[in-house]
């Protein structure tokens, strides 16, 4: 067993870290306060070949693996959960399904601009009344000649108002249950596509979360991703990869909060010595280190097994479940270590705390992860 990262991966992690510290950390709170999606940061990601890390080189990706992608996601989370979230939604949910399930023409038309960083990706599964029970879907796509006509509302869609393509899950056969769901590539410029809400959230406000309405959106047949009825199988495969990236992002949030807490515990003096010298504070910081090591090991294991082509349903669920809880716990303790300052927006821990909470909800709540793992265990 080799726990050392390959040289290439380490160099990429270090370069992304350097970029994040110089270019993102200084604006992380500002973009959150202004609820501003930082377009220019994503343009720079494109120049650094970060927008298609796990996409193959023949489709303008970087040809990296999921371990490399997880390292990038962790580094982004370490400075900005919002940028990290928009980034993994673009990559795992907007780009990779087209790479995995698209035709050669779809890859060229839709995946390659995403991989080059010229376009942002999104996908739309959740609906106002369909969350954890994602199959209880009201969005319908009916065939009319050589077109599909899509009607419905999608909820909590990351990047929808900045995206150039949205992968919309719709029911094509209402009687077929899970087998009646299909995926369509929708262009936000298509008639009938409307972003009706950009939510104000507890955190992650630099990453837009939208409600979208599809009112008779007509798309040609060649926008169907895969075959009719493939939508649910595609979703499960996509979320296996997606959970790894949320686990990595969560690990990054925890790491950022931990570093802030450790730094503060070393510098802040009370009763004549650094507060980190008191058992109560030291133990909190030590537990952060303990938990983060666990989250990172699980995440890297899930990514490595994914890259080896193994079934990662259980391990990616475990990684996502554990890392997201760890992110919230570590961030909460980081606020506590900072005392009153930790409750102010001048210090980063409150942001990590607010950002971390979403990780236990998005891409399958913790409760759903328990359900997934329970099934894998035969319970």
């Amino acid at each position: 067993m080799d726990f050392d990262l390959p040289n290439e991966h380490r160099m990429i992690r270090d370069t992304v870290r350097e970029f994040c510290e110089a270019e993102i950390a200084p604006i992380a709170q500002e973009i959150e306060d202004e609820h501003r999606f930082p377009e220019s940061v994503f343009e720079e990601f494109g120049q650094l070949d970060l927008m298609g890390v796990p996409a193959p080189e023949e489709h303008d990706g970087a040809g990296g693996d999921y371990l490399m992608y997880a390292l990038v996601a962790e580094e982004l989370g370490r400075v900005s959960g919002a940028i990290g979230l928009s980034y993994v939604a673009h990559t795992s949910l907007g780009l990779m399904p087209i790479v995995m399930f698209g035709t050669a023409e779809q890859k060229e038309r839709w995946a390659e601009p995403l991989a080059r960083g010229e376009a942002m990706g999104a996908w739309a599964l959740t609906e106002p009344s369909s969350g954890s029970d994602a199959s209880d879907m009201d969005t319908m796509a009916r065939k009319e000649g050589d077109e599909y006509v899509i009607d419905g509302t999608k909820q909590f869609i990351t990047n929808a108002n900045v995206a150039n393509s949205v992968l919309v899950k719709s029911v094509t056969d209402p009687d077929a249950g899970y087998g009646g769901i299909s995926t369509f590539i929708v262009d936000p410029d298509d008639d009938g596509f409307e972003v009706v809400e950009v939510w104000d959230k507890m955190g992650l406000n630099a990453s837009p979360t939208c409600e979208i309405k599809l009112d008779g959106v007509r798309v040609p047949e060649d926008r169907l991703l895969g075959d009719e009825g493939d939508g649910w199988t595609q979703t499960k495969k996509t979320l296996n990869g997606g959970r790894i990236s949320i686990a990595a992002l969560s690990t990054g949030l925890a790491q950022g909060a931990y570093e802030a807490a450790k730094g503060y515990a070393t510098e802040r003096e009370q009763f004549g010595r650094p507060i980190g010298k008191f058992d109560a504070v030291r133990d909190m910081v030590v537990d952060m280190d303990r938990k983060i090591e666990r989250a990172r090991l699980l995440t890297h294991k899930a990514a490595t097994q994914y890259d080896a082509g193994e079934d990662v349903t259980r391990i990616s669920s475990l990684a996502k479940l554990d890392a997201s809880e760890i992110a919230r716990e570590v961030a909460e303790d980081a606020v506590q270590v900072h005392g009153g300052y930790g409750y102010t927006t001048d210090f980063a821990p409150q942001r990590f705390y607010r950002d971390a909470k979403l990780m236990e909800i998005g891409e399958g709540t913790s409760e759903i992860q328990h359900l997934v793992v329970g099934r894998e265990l035969g319970l």
Partner: protein, 266 residues
């Protein structure tokens, strides 16, 4: 007509805020290694010339142990075409390499590579001799310009029009005929971040390792009149005064302070 630019690249030690000295060096536990900041600008300058010109080859040369290959790969990731690393047990045993030794070693590489232009950093962030580039020029008989903060290179004529920093804020504009050595100052450009593809390609770019024999040198090259005799942390005294308030108020306070300290009169 092709152009070859040789860039010296050093891996420098960076010291943690808190450290301990062990013997004649800072304890290795407190050191991290990275590309020398000045060399980062030199690499960027060379890569920009190669991107702007036809058929420009950028070769890096490093004196350093195997560990330094990660730093060298970073220069390759930023766009250098290939790398040369010089190392030998004799160099490892010698400890401190003075500027003359480095110039002799680099001169052997210059003689075999025959570059049109050599770019070095002004200095290295760790030992800060600030002499290697000029010593190298002297050793190989090249023209040179030190502390260059702007460069316009005419590849056809092999002439570098440079702006160089002199003491006291004075700058000099001059032309240097090639082959030349230019020592590059920080700020001359904005070094890029390596792209992910650049990093991946860098793993496959040639990195040749030469020992002293390969360069036609022997162990006498490390003989030096300079000996490192001790390493200590100098006593440092710092006394900072911080004024808070509006610019008007603080400017008054600063003015009073400067008068009292005799920095300004009146």
């Amino acid at each position: 007509m092709s152009t070859k630019i040789l860039v010296t690249v050093k891996e420098v030690a960076e010291v943690d805020d808190e450290f301990e000295i062990s013997g004649l060096d800072i304890d290795d536990r407190y050191l991290e290694y990275d590309l020398n900041e000045w060399d980062d600008y030199a690499v960027e300058e060379a890569v920009q010339l190669s991107e702007a010109g036809d058929d420009v080859e950028v070769v890096t040369v490093t004196l350093g142990p195997e560990r330094s290959e990660e730093t060298i790969r970073m220069a390759l990731a930023k766009g250098a075409d290939r790398a040369v690393r010089v190392w030998d047990d004799a160099l490892a045993d010698a400890g401190l390499l003075d500027a003359t030794t480095k110039a002799d070693l680099l001169a052997a590489v210059v003689e075999s590579e025959e570059p049109d232009l050599v770019l070095t950093g002004v200095q290295a962030a760790d030992d800060s001799f600030g002499a290697t580039g000029v010593a190298l020029a002297e050793r190989v008989g090249f023209e040179w310009a030190a502390v260059v903060n702007d460069l316009d290179y005419d590849a056809d004529a092999n002439v570098s029009s440079v702006r160089r920093e002199l003491e006291g804020g004075v700058e000099e504009l001059t032309d240097v005929e090639g082959p030349a050595v230019l020592t590059i100052q920080t700020g001359i450009n904005e070094p890029r971040y390596a792209s992910l593809r650049g990093i991946r390609q860098a793993q496959r770019k040639p990195l040749d390792v030469h020992a002293l024999d390969d360069l036609g040198l022997d162990e006498s090259v490390v003989d030096s009149p300079v000996d490192l005799t001790s390493m200590y942390e100098p006593e440092s005294e710092g006394d900072a005064v911080v004024w808070e308030g509006s610019p008007d108020e603080t400017a008054d306070e600063l003015a009073t302070f400067l008068r009292e300290q005799g920095v300004v009169e009146g």
